[in-house]
Subunit: 341 residues, 3 copies
């Protein structure tokens, strides 16, 4: 179970209730009234826990699991150990996520305004917000209802956040307009001037960065990630887009809705990603590219050209993924040949 | 126009004045007294705005632009829409940068010493500095005139900054000497001990890091970038060198003057870059390399060897750029062959 | 010598004493009573300094060095300039490290509790700790003896640290249990929720992250590095493991003892590294991998598969290092061929 020093659990829930909230189907209706008290990983789950199987790597752990119940795909039913109740779902990981959210709902926001916070009198802060220790809020800032602002966070002049945002500690925000239910993890930097320099023999000439950062509803931005403001246009992060830690987003970048960017990705200035683009860790994008809706970028790719909607690419420079795999196979074959003779 | 909540504009300026301050030439002298009130990107500029064309990708946007005036290269004159006044420049982006600086000059520093700042009595802080909320300044620190220190920034014992530095929020400085007019963006970490461990079967043995970080005049360091102090020699950043976000600079690294490092670059210990080296994003340098003056490193390169002055290299391991292009072409040809039969 | 504004030196030491504390052997016993007053790099060391030679690149500097004494390997003895006393060691860098630690011991912790620190009354803070300005310590936190907590650091509810930890400024800790003598550099983020989203056509679904971060004794974590808490299992960093700046450690990652991770490495969720694994800068690991004890990963590698204990790998995707070298050689040969005809 989750360490009670750090996490507060609710429940128990009946399997029927979990099936209903997760969109899963009970393999055996007679299990509907069985109660489970917690979620847990395959290896540590016991008879009162519900777990899930989503990755074939872990089938053996599934076969040996002592979990009382599990979310699984249809085709995995036959692998289940005897006595395990099954919640059948097309996407077991998503179904498990919804169950886990029920057991561990986010703590409600406790209205508070730390005495140590320095808040400009022109800032509009609803009374139901939670403003942490040593927070600095400058002139003209507007927060939505129930925002939670972590200790030591700095919100620069005229920044706006929608309702129910959760901002971690040590975050700095400037020149940005942020939607509702946005999560910013510790150390996020948003709105600083982008890297705008005109090359010159006498040294780089600074270009004033005159745009903003616009972040849609339900975005989630990882720890120590940096998002620069636009140079003239705005930098835009679409609704529901999630970004992992240590990612760099350059000026004028536009990310569509529902994009997923893994850790340490870097996107150069003015590149645009359509909706639902998925990007593996440490991939890099040159500037001024167009990446089509639903494209999938393998980890550690180097994008030098536009990518069509729905395409999957990999490599540096990135090519269609099947071609990347062939390049690898050929190189490995040639290297062995030389080896052999 | 730039959002007036975030930016303060001056002007208007006559085209003659803009030509004079940017080194551009008016295509038609009769336009000299026309006034423009703002700078703007090609797509959104109107009849009172001045814009620029610097990237062939945007010629169509230029042809259709409603801008009143534009900075362009000589050879683009004929593409200009009727009625657009032209400011002809060899480097339109640089000329535009100078015009934009005139419209949006950096805000003057307002002398202030936040009551919440903790400043050691032995620190020398000129009265015209702006010291933000919760700043911590330790013993023996010396700031130059008109420095601006962002909220929550920590300046460790004996650190020195020249005049007119602008330090963002949440920055930590220690063991460093910094020149004049240096800009440090939020979350920058300078002067922490470098990664110095002698390998040993019983676990890594720590090597005391006894050098400093020396930063020249007019340097610009991006958000969440880390610059470790030297181990015995100093880590040195040359005058006018600009570094993007999330860059890692190891101990004893020496960067020359006017270098440009894009985001997420990593430079291992004791590597030296000459003056005016340009490095694309996510490139990595092994330790103890010498990179010659004016070298250009493509993005995502992996540098394992020295690079001669003026050379352009790419790939991992990096080779002369033309050779890198041939490697790519050959791999792509071979992969297609296998595909075909 | 190290800048006395930043570093406090002890000594002098006799060469006999240095030999004893570093495990080195004096080449000439008659040198035993010679005193040295400082450590210094080859190029700047003078007659009263002790230096070291560990990298063949610097043999010329060694030959020309004015150092009074040097740690060297047996086989380098003959290259030494006349009059230089030699301390012979199998690992000169390690021996030098131990000598440097004697000259520059870490400053003792001065018990202090800054008046500006906000400390929950339920937190257990030994009186011999040093709590910096504006530190925030939440409910139930427990610190060991002699911990040093940097300015503006935030320690979240129920976090525990062992004795003699040194935590830099601007660090954020939550949901973690940390051992003794651990060093955390400025801007480190530990314990934030990992990147857990189930893909869904309606946008990513958040998975509650219910694990912790467990950090062993003597670990050292670099500036602005991020370590996410586990999703159900814990994220674990082994005893004596050292991690450079800007590294990303995903949820459920397990690092063994004595691992060394260079800058900007990224490790995806649930990947496990055995003891004493060494990872070059900017390498990336896919999720759910097993990397065997003592494996060595070249810089900028992309790990897609498990790695056996003791293996050395490189490339993207990573292959045995010798094979990677052959791939490079073949590509370079093919590229030249095309060039030639």
């Amino acid at each position: 179970m989750a360490d009670p020093r750090f996490f507060h659990r609710t429940g128990p829930f009946s399997l029927e209730a979990l099936a209903a909230m997760s969109g899963a189907r009970l393999r055996d209706r007679r299990d509907g009234e069985r109660l489970v008290t917690d979620v847990a990983p395959l290896e540590t789950a016991g008879p009162d826990d519900v777990t899930f199987l989503d990755n074939r790597k872990y089938v053996d752990a599934f076969v040996g699991s002592r979990a009382g119940a599990a979310f699984v795909e249809e085709r995995m039913i036959e692998k289940a150990p005897a006595g395990m109740a099954l919640l059948v779902a097309a996407q077991p990981y998503k179904a498990f996520a919804l169950a886990a959210q029920a057991f561990y709902p986010p703590a409600p926001v406790n209205p508070r305004r730390a005495l140590s916070a320095v808040i400009d009198p022109t800032a509009e802060i609803p009374v139901d917000c939670d403003i942490g220790e040593y927070v600095v809020i400058e002139a003209g800032v507007r927060l939505g209802a129930r925002c939670q602002i972590g200790h030591h966070t700095v919100i620069g002049a005229a920044v706006e956040l929608g309702s129910d945002c959760r901002v971690g500690a040590n975050v700095t925000l400037s020149h940005c307009l942020i939607g509702a239910r946005v999560v910013l993890h510790p150390g996020v930097r948003i709105g600083q001037p982008g890297f705008g320099f005109a090359p010159d023999p006498a040294g780089p000439v600074k270009i004033p960065q005159l745009g903003r950062v616009i972040i849609g509803d339900d975005a989630d931005i990882g720890a120590n990630t940096t998002i620069d403001r636009g140079s003239g246009h705005d930098t835009v992060i679409g609704d529901g887009t999630v970004i992992d830690n240590l990612v760099q987003i350059g000026h004028n970048v536009v990310l569509g809705r529902g994009c997923v960017l893994a850790g340490q990705v870097g996107i150069s200035g003015s590149t645009k990603l359509g909706d639902f683009v998925m990007v593996g860790g440490q991939s890099a994008f040159a500037g001024h590219l167009e990446i089509g809706r639903g494209a999938r970028i393998a980890g550690k790719s180097g994008l030098m050209r536009d990518v069509e909607a729905g395409a999957t690419v990999g490599g540096n420079p990135a090519v269609p993924f099947a071609q990347f795999m062939r390049q690898i196979a050929i190189l490995q074959r040639l290297a062995k040949k030389k080896d052999g003779g």
